[in-house]
């Protein structure tokens, strides 16, 4: 515990840094995944191509991704931008499928009735399809967010500081408390983001609130 008490400043600073590094790819990934998911939902051909590449992207281990992306984009591999782009791609890989599935799951009757009462295509997408797909998208986003928070730590291997610093530094200096506090803080940051997402979901989608646990 001594180490933790002596280094509260460091832990706090790294946690904030970690939070910042996590939020950017989560938001950017979601925003990009919505149109991609819509394409996959709407066009059969796009679905095959998009979901296959998303699947491949999702499969590639993060460390390998950190090394493969920079030469393709012509950026330095020792940069925060690299981590942000790689993790954004990772979030897109999960969310494109999740958005497509979510849009698929919208009740066809509801969609037909929206058409019937005279919604235009764009208006219908933003006021009917997307909100109704919201709960499924949200559950996908929670999965993506938790994984992203955990993957940010790998960035320390290419010099991007986050709570991952506590892992490598703690390992080199053989301080168990340091690594342990890093693990705990990563999970706390993930929990914080998850709670924020759930709260946002409840605010934005009041109709999806369940009175209790739905019976199976």
């Amino acid at each position: 515990m001594n180490w933790v008490l002596d280094n509260l400043d460091l832990i706090g600073r790294l946690s904030l840094e970690h939070l910042r590094l996590s939020i950017t790819p989560i938001l950017a990934g979601l925003l990009i995944a919505i149109p991609l998911g819509w394409l996959a939902h709407r066009y059969r051909l796009a679905r095959g191509a998009l979901l296959t590449s998303a699947g491949l992207l999702y499969t590639i281990p993060s460390l390998a991704l950190f090394v493969i992306i920079p030469p393709i984009l012509g950026i330095s591999y020792l940069s925060e931008l690299n981590v942000t782009i790689a993790l954004t791609l990772f979030v897109i890989a999960i969310m494109a499928r999740s958005v497509a599935d979510a849009l698929d799951s919208v009740d066809g009757n509801v969609r037909q009735s929206a058409v019937a009462v005279g919604y235009g295509a764009l208006r219908r997408f933003f006021t009917v399809d997307l909100p109704l797909a919201g709960p499924v998208i949200l559950s996908g986003l929670r999965v993506a967010a938790a994984s992203t928070v955990s993957l940010v730590t790998v960035g320390i291997l290419i010099g991007v500081e986050s709570l991952g610093y506590l892992f490598t530094n703690g390992y080199q200096r053989r301080i168990v408390e340091e690594i342990f506090s890093g693990v705990v803080m990563v999970m706390l940051v993930a929990l914080l983001i998850d709670l924020a997402l759930v709260a946002l979901g409840r605010l934005a989608m009041p109709w999806a609130r369940r009175p209790g646990r739905a019976a199976r």
């Binding site: 991952g164 390992y171 693990v183």
Partner: protein, 245 residues
């Protein structure tokens, strides 16, 4: 693109195929870590997952656990276990970490596979007079198999990725080259190894995806012919969402 050519040159260079750190040795290590830890995790997780799926008890706990596990930083977990279990027990510590990381997906696959079966089907099996044991083996296990394999698939991906990081503690595997090239700035080596890691992950994933498709009971596949192409993706998505925290 030059860097990629360099990387390819690095992969096919003669010295990759000889000596104690040849590609074969490193690839063998990587496969061994993955296969062995996924196997152990399966042996542990499947009975528990089946118990949860069959009885419906302990489900909340399992869901919470797999949700929390998703946020568990695998890199930190390995380093932590090495320090806790002692630097001399590195392989044991790494294997423990791999197994811990693999269990939640497999557990989720096992019970989600049971839960995805329609209640009516189970009721019918009970109504015609199957014992609980027969319901388990003749109905739940075959019908739940695709989702279980989906869980094993996620677990294998997780371990392949984590095994790459394990080279940081000197465990070998394909990550070895990445960590050898990193401090020296040898990009051809890092990139070549990264490409190999990516290909390995994709091949393992594809092989398990094929298994998953083969093990869909034929009658179940028959009912889904129109959407056959999108079906496996959905099933995988289901495992993912059902393990959400």
């Amino acid at each position: 693109m030059n860097l990629f050519l360099d990387a390819l040159a690095w992969i096919v260079a003669p010295e990759r195929f000889e000596g104690s750190s040849s590609l074969f040795v490193r690839l063998g290590e990587h496969l061994y870590f993955t296969a062995f830890s996924v196997l152990i995790a399966t042996v542990i997780a499947v009975p528990i997952g089946y118990l949860i799926g069959h009885t419906g008890r302990g489900r909340e706990l399992a869901v919470g656990l797999s949700g929390a596990a998703r946020a568990l930083p695998s890199f930190g977990l390995i380093l932590l276990l090495v320090l806790v279990m002692g630097v001399t027990n590195k392989p044991a510590a790494a294997f423990t970490a791999f197994v811990v990381l693999a269990i939640p997906s497999i557990l989720a696959g096992a019970y989600a596979g049971f839960e995805a079966i329609e209640r009516r089907t189970i009721n019918a099996a009970r109504a015609v007079g199957m014992t609980e044991w027969q319901i388990l083996w003749r109905v739940e296990v075959p019908l739940g198999l695709p989702l279980l394999i989906g869980g094993i698939r996620s677990a294998a991906l997780q371990v392949v990725a984590t095994a790459t990081l394990a080279a940081y503690i000197g465990l070998g595997g394909l990550g070895y080259y990445i960590f050898r090239g990193l401090p020296l700035g040898r990009y051809d080596e890092m990139l070549g190894a990264s490409i190999l890691v990516a290909v390995l992950a994709i091949v393992i994933d594809a092989a398990l995806a094929l298994c998953q498709r083969l093990f869909v009971p034929r009658g179940v596949a028959a009912g889904r012919t129109p959407s056959l192409r999108t079906a496996p993706a959905r099933r995988r998505a289901m495992v993912e969402t059902s393990t959400a925290p």
